[in-house]
Symmetry: C2
Subunit: 167 residues, 2 copies
Amino acid sequence: MDWRERKARGITRPDPTPEERERFMREALTEAQLAMHDGEVPIGAVVVRDGEVVGRGHNRRETGKNALYHAEVLAIDEACKTLGGWRLWECDLYVTLEPCPMCAGALINARVRHVYYGAKDEKAGSVESVTKLFDLPYNHRPTAEGGILEEECGALLTEFFETLRKK
Amino acid sequence: MDWRERKARGITRPDPTPEERERFMREALTEAQLAMHDGEVPIGAVVVRDGEVVGRGHNRRETGKNALYHAEVLAIDEACKTLGGWRLWECDLYVTLEPCPMCAGALINARVRHVYYGAKDEKAGSVESVTKLFDLPYNHRPTAEGGILEEECGALLTEFFETLRKK
């Protein structure tokens, strides 16, 4: 994002460096490990503002018995509570798997600045795979970058599904 | 939906009659009135299973200080808690305004059967306006029908924004 677009969006905080991107994706991976430990599909997410994690979440759909309990939704929910408002203007989200339509929509609604994800999701991913929701004319469009620690994020999912098949 | 599609989807419960559709959209309108009363954009939703309301919600984004608190998300959340599971297979959702991408995605994730809505949303509606999420190859596709009590649903929104402009 160049300075003109930053100014147009009223963004004053600097973008994360490549090192920070990796560091925060590792935090999302730690969340994914927690999901794995509970027997859930291992997906994790963190919301970061000003170099600080303000929301965390991991997939809890089965144990929480709730269709809404995706990693991103839970991380956004916690970030809104931490920051005391619904506008996550200067926040970035890191998630191990490409967001589904619900989560991509939640990122638009919460006005999240940048979205960084690891592995692609051919079946439900809605940033680049099934559709490209951030390219449509909604009133906010987060920028997105996939492929951050892609191999590790994908390997965790592969491991989970292989273990499942053996059972 | 004809009997072949019903059978393929494993649906045994009958579809709502036109009278039932109106009745449940009135319940969604009652929820929208509650939002209006709190100074929120008046949008309401209910989840119905077997002719019974199992989840209710109205827009609480401002008062709840949370980007996720759309009517549909709150109604789905309550329905998952009422029914004790994340699969709302045989549930229908009624909402006064065409769902946004987050809510349309949540309806896909929760495997909701039919979605009935009132007014169109040209700016964020993602069932027929900005995009048609239910036509994409996700692993579940709810059927959708708009225009149920469209005039009343739209009038409430017009009234809200007119009052806002006068302030």
